[in-house]
Every structure is written in structure tokens, then in C-alpha cells.
């Protein structure tokens, strides 16, 4: 098979701004950078193909966090996300998002992406969150990627598909200098010098193993193997609150959203096996997931999304959305099982763990300008630490990153990296191709992710974590000494396993550091079952120092929008109480 044959090669190119990851945040970052300075060179590097990559590969049903004048205010949204995230939020970035996102909606509208309007011509925003109203359906949501791609072509962004970035390059004084990448079909290496780099590489979604046992049946796009988290870590950037795992309520086995954000506003709800509601609100928070988990184990499970009480026309409307965008094979899956929403509820389960600030708060630490702690390095979207970001957050913060990165590039020259770093990286990347005999990447990956499930999945038990870290260290040794890749495609998987292993280590390290329980199920430590605001009302930042993984506390920035004492625990009251 000529396509995957390993070709020996190394070339070098340069650009002003390098955007890595062409899913959601990446295209917007590249576009904004280019529009900021049309004379500059902007390269968009993508492991798959920008036309169909990332979480919105098949589009999206709507915006989950639209702050639209007349329906919600930036203050209200900032307050809601602060409470939903248990107070550990630097509000400045969330507030800036809330102020800017309406402009981005108008811009997306000008790209040809439509948003649902009512008979008066106003946006038809729906309520899903606990307090405010932020969900806006997208009637032609399946066309999002196509619309973005048109803009990229028009702006003459240089797109390089099928290149996987493996490590960032820095100068001696710590500034970003570019990235090393490898062609996923030939294994040829490409060094890209850049004045500024924006990481938009998505969630770490291939961390836990789905209960189906199918390695690629993940909630997140299975291409999102956490490469951005690993690269940021090795470049010395700080990563925030990684112990705040992503865990989502999903269609059992299919492992995609059911999806309460679509069906909820029509009257659907989450129910137990008795047909009773048990949670106040279907918005995905750690507190809600804890109640979901408790219900599953209580004997009152399974848990279902209940639709059958709705009018058949309403069900058809919901169905047409669920089976057309985001995960269109949901229809095929239900058909295969003979499940008709009109007569049967949708069985749900809990997803594998991952990192994703898009739904929780685990991401590369960024400020309100999308800057990481490494000068010239930016991050946006699911992998950057602005919490509960979703798609609109990726677009909005991608836009912020693109503009700021181009300003940085315009005022700096190329930083010089050490050529020895490239040689070392080439040796690391190619090592699995040099062995005659060994263990294939799929086995190392399966074992690593099985260990993640066995030892790291909440509830988090200190002793289990210690054992898990020992087992992971053994698997890492196998990965470093014995992993074999016989063609370029296997090399791609071999490199992804290394990201997954790094993320597993970071998940364990960050979880042991925070000695309290917070964010409901996301960080439930049985040895420290209570929330401890006195000692742990802070971010945790994980980073690589002198080759070692370290964690430290970082104070939460003073709030821009104050939260009253009686509002702080609104998301803690998720369980429906029996009333007389």
C-alpha cells in the first residue's frame, strides 16, 4: 500500500502565525489572524482534513451558550458559569466571551449559518441551563464546516491537511519558535517556524475506554487524542484544573449525546426506571453527573431520556435534528435496536473520562486574550481553560486568539530554536519505525485506556490512583522501549498513544494534588469527600519543571460579577426533593 509507506524526509517552512488544529476554534483563529494582517502568512495545520475535522465534523444542532441581548446578559451568563463551575473561574475570560459572542453569531450568520428565529424575527432562544436562557438552534447546522471552509479559501489561508504536530519549538529565552510535525501518510517530517502558534487541538477524548470496548467509539471525535495537552505540557505551559474531568450523560453504547439540549426545550426530560425525574436541570454539570451516577447505582436505574409523552409531530421534529447533525448515525443505531422514540425511552449511560474545557474546565491555562504561560503560544477551544465553552466559545475565543497572535507576530521576529531539538524530536517520533519487533500501538493504547478506567475514573480513591500510576508507568516503559509501527498510519497511532499516556499521567497527578471533592462527579475523592473552600478555593496549575510533573495552586482572580452567598450553591441542589 503505497500511501502508508514510510518515506525518510525532513523539510522546513516558515510562517507568521501557525494555527494547529482545523476543527472549530482553529479555522476561526486562522481567519481572524489573516484578516488582521492580510499580508502575513497564516498556516492552518490539521491532522485530518479541515473540511471534515473536529467535533463539528458533521455540524452542530445549535449554540448551547448564546448570550443574546434581550434574553440574557453577559453578567448573568458569567454568574451562571461561575456557579456551575463551583466558583473556580477567572471571570474576565468568561465575561469577555459573553460580551463578544453575539458579534460572532452575527458573523456566522453572514457566513450563511442560520439561527432559529420566531415569527417576530427574533432569535428563538431556549432554556436548558439552571438559571438563564442560552440555547439557540441552528436549522442548517449541518453546513457549518462547509461555510467555514469557504471563508478560509476566500482569505487564502494556507491549509496543510494530514500533518500531525508532535512538539513545539522554543528559543533559549522561552519564546515560541514553531512546531515539529509529521505527515500521517508518509511519515515525512516538517518543521514549521512561526512567530506565534495557536493550539486548537480539541479535547483529550481518547483517554478513558468506552464501555462498549470499541476504542474509537468515544464521545469526542476519536481523532482528539489529547495531542494539544501533551504538546503544551512538554513546551512548559501550565495546564489548569485537569482534575475537573469531562464525563457526560450519553446514549448507552452509541456514546453520543441523547440529546437533552435539543429535546429538553420541547418537554423531554431525564428519568429513572420508575419514569420519575430525579434531577432539576439537564445542563451538563459535575453536580448533575453525580446525581446521574447515584441514580444508576441506586437500583432505580437505568436512566432514560423520556420523549414518548410528547406529541408525535414534536418527536418527529426532534428526530429530524438528532438524525441529521452532529452524530447522524444516532438514527441508524436506534433503528438497529428497534427503538422508536414514540414508544420507547432512550437508555443512557455515563461516558468515559476525558479532558475538555468545552464541557467542564480542564484545559491549557489561558488568560482573557487566549495567551498561555509561554510567550507567543495561544490556545482556544476545547483544550483551553475557559470553562463550559462549547462550540460558540471555540469560535469566539479562537477569534480572540487569532487577533492577539497576529499582533504578537507583527511586533516580534522569529525566535531561534536549537537545531538539536529537531534532531531529538525526529528520533523520538521515528523510534517505533526503527524496531524489528515489538508491541503494536493498538495494544499499548487499549491497555493504557483500560488502566484509566480501572484506576482513574471517579470515584477517585487514593490507593487506586497510586496503583494505577504504577501500572501506567509500566505501560509507558513498554511504549518507549518496545512499541512498533510498521507504516505511517501505525506511526500516527503510535504518536497518539504517547499523547494519551501523557494525559493519563496528568489526570492522575492533578487528581491527587487537589485534596478535596469539587465539581460533583468530576472530582469526587472518597478520601476527601467534602468541598474545602478554605484550602482549595483556587485553580491548580500543572506543568513540567526540570523534566518533572509538578502542580501548584493559583488564586482565583477577583470576580467581575459578584455572586451572592445564597446563589453559590444553586448547582449543588440538583436532586429533586420529595415534596409533601
Amino acid at each position: 500500500m503505497a500511501l502508508d509507506q514510510i518515506v525518510d524526509g525532513l523539510s522546513e517552512v516558515s510562517c507568521d502565525v501557525l494555527v494547529i488544529g482545523g476543527g472549530t476554534a482553529g479555522p476561526m483563529a486562522a481567519l481572524k489572524a489573516k484578516l488582521k494582517n492580510p499580508k502575513a502568512n497564516v498556516v492552518l495545520l490539521e491532522k485530518a482534513n479541515v473540511k471534515r475535522s473536529g467535533a463539528i465534523s458533521m455540524g452542530m444542532d445549535g449554540l448551547n451558550n448564546a448570550v443574546i441581548p434581550g434574553y440574557a446578559t453577559p453578567e448573568q451568563y458569567t454568574k451562571e458559569i461561575t456557579i456551575a463551575n463551583d466558583g473556580i473561574v477567572d471571570q474576565k475570560a468568561v465575561y469577555k466571551y459573553a460580551q463578544n459572542c453575539y458579534k460572532i453569531i452575527e458573523e456566522l450568520d453572514s457566513f450563511g449559518i442560520r439561527f432559529l428565529k420566531n415569527e417576530n424575527g427574533d432569535y428563538a432562544v431556549k432554556k436548558v441551563h439552571h438559571i438563564g436562557t442560552y440555547v439557540l438552534p441552528m436549522p442548517n447546522g449541518e453546513t457549518v464546516k462547509r461555510a467555514l471552509y469557504r471563508q478560509l479559501r476566500r482569505a487564502r489561508i494556507l491549509i496543510s491537511n494530514r500533518y500531525m504536530a508532535t512538539r513545539l519549538l522554543k528559543s533559549a529565552d522561552g519564546r515560541i519558535a514553531g512546531a515539529v510535525s509529521v505527515n500521517t501518510r508518509t511519515a515525512e517530517m516538517l518543521v514549521i517556524k512561526a512567530k506565534a502558534v495557536i493550539l486548537c487541538m480539541g479535547a483529550a477524548g481518547r483517554l478513558g475506554l468506552p464501555t462498549s470496548g470499541y476504542m474509537f467509539g468515544t464521545y469526542e471525535n476519536a481523532a482528539n487524542s489529547g495531542d494539544g495537552y501533551a504538546m503544551a505540557y512538554h513546551a512548559g505551559a501550565a495546564l489548569a484544573n485537569l482534575e475537573c474531568f469531562q464525563i457526560n450523560p450519553l446514549i448507552k453504547d452509541y456514546n453520543g449525546p441523547a440529546c437533552a439540549y435539543v429535546a429538553g426545550p420541547f418537554g423531554a426530560y431525564t428519568a429513572n426506571n420508575e419514569g420519575s425525574r430525579f434531577i432539576e436541570c439537564d445542563y451538563w454539570s459535575g453536580q448533575m453527573m453525580l446525581e446521574f451516577y447515584n441514580e444508576l447505582l441506586s437500583g432505580k436505574g437505568p436512566v432514560f431520556l423520556q420523549l414518548k409523552h410528547l406529541h408525535p409531530d414534536t418527536i418527529s421534529e426532534i428526530e429530524s435534528t438528532l438524525h441529521k447533525v452532529e452524530r447522524p448515525t444516532r438514527g441508524l443505531f436506534q433503528q438497529g435496536r428497534g427503538v422508536d422514540y414514540r414508544s420507547e425511552s432512550i437508555e443512557m449511560h455515563i461516558s468515559e473520562i476525558g479532558f475538555c474545557s468545552g464541557h467542564s474546565a480542564s484545559g491549557v491555562f489561558v488568560d482573557d486574550n487566549a495567551r498561555t504561560t509561554v510567550p507567543g503560544l495561544y490556545a482556544a477551544g476545547d483544550m483551553a481553560s475557559v470553562p463550559h465553552n462549547y462550540m460558540l466559545g471555540a469560535f469566539t475565543n479562537g477569534s480572540v486568539a487569532g487577533i492577539d497572535a497576529m499582533e504578537f507576530a507583527d511586533s516580534h521576529d522569529f525566535a531561534e530554536f536549537d537545531a538539536a531539538d529537531v534532531v531529538m524530536e525526529r528520533d523520538r517520533v521515528m523510534a517505533p519505525t526503527k524496531r524489528e519487533d515489538g508491541i503494536p500501538p493498538n495494544q499499548i493504547e487499549y491497555k493504557t485506556r483500560r488502566l484509566v478506567n480501572d484506576y482513574l475514573q471517579p470515584p477517585k480513591v487514593t490507593r487506586k490512583y497510586e496503583l494505577g500510576m504504577r501500572r501506567l508507568a509500566e505501560a509507558r516503559e513498554d511504549m518507549q522501549e518496545r512499541m512498533i509501527a510498521r507504516n505511517a498510519h501505525e506511526l500516527l497511532r503510535a504518536l497518539e498513544v504517547q499523547s494519551i499516556m501523557d494525559c493519563a499521567d496528568m489526570a492522575a497527578h492533578a487528581s491527587l494534588y487537589r485534596e478535596e471533592s469539587r465539581w460533583g462527579l468530576y472530582h469526587w475523592r472518597t478520601d476527601f469527600p467534602e468541598k474545602d473552600n478554605e484550602n482549595w478555593f483556587c485553580h491548580t496549575l500543572l506543568s513540567k519543571r526540570d523534566g518533572k510533573m509538578t502542580s501548584e495552586k493559583r488564586a482565583v482572580e477577583p470576580y467581575v460579577v459578584p455572586i451572592a452567598d445564597d446563589e453559590k450553591d444553586l448547582y449543588d441542589k440538583q436532586r429533586i426533593r420529595a415534596s409533601a
Binding site: L3, N49, R52, S57, S212, P328, T329, L332, D437
Partner: protein
């Protein structure tokens, strides 16, 4: 340790009669996020070379002749 290959039933099926990969089309191979489709050296038609599927649909949706069908992977069906 020596390697063995084991059998797996793959979710993406290509109808050779409709597939025009032999005329130069590579759309499904190009768009796949997991890069699991290839053109066969023997038949010059597209096929699923690696069982690493997110059952996401771009290959089926973008195929110009309707030759590609995505099924749910057996393990989670």
C-alpha cells in the same frame, strides 16, 4: 514477540459497482477524520483498511455516487 493479525468486521462498506475511485476519485479517503479508508491496489476501489471508525458519516455524506455506507461498529450495535 511475533505479531498475529486478527479478524474484525469493519463498519464502512463500499459498493464497488458505484465507487469511482478507479477514475481518480478520492473523496472518502480525503475527508475521513480517522484516515481509515484507502484505495485498493487490487480493485482500485475504496475500502476500509483500518477498523478505527467514529461512525461519523463524512465518507457517506460526501461520496459523489452514493457508494459508501456507514454501519454501526459491531461492538456497540
Amino acid at each position: 514477540m511475533p505479531l498475529a493479525s486478527y479478524q474484525t468486521s469493519v463498519p464502512v462498506v463500499v459498493d464497488d459497482a458505484k465507487c469511482i475511485a478507479d477514475k481518480g476519485c478520492t473523496v472518502c479517503v480525503d475527508v475521513c477524520p480517522l484516515d481509515v479508508l484507502r484505495i485498493s491496489d487490487m480493485t482500485n476501489k475504496a475500502y476500509m483498511a483500518y477498523d478505527e471508525c467514529w461512525y461519523c458519516m463524512p465518507c457517506e455524506a460526501d461520496c459523489p455516487t452514493g457508494a459508501v455506507t456507514v454501519n454501526i461498529p459491531y461492538l456497540l450495535r
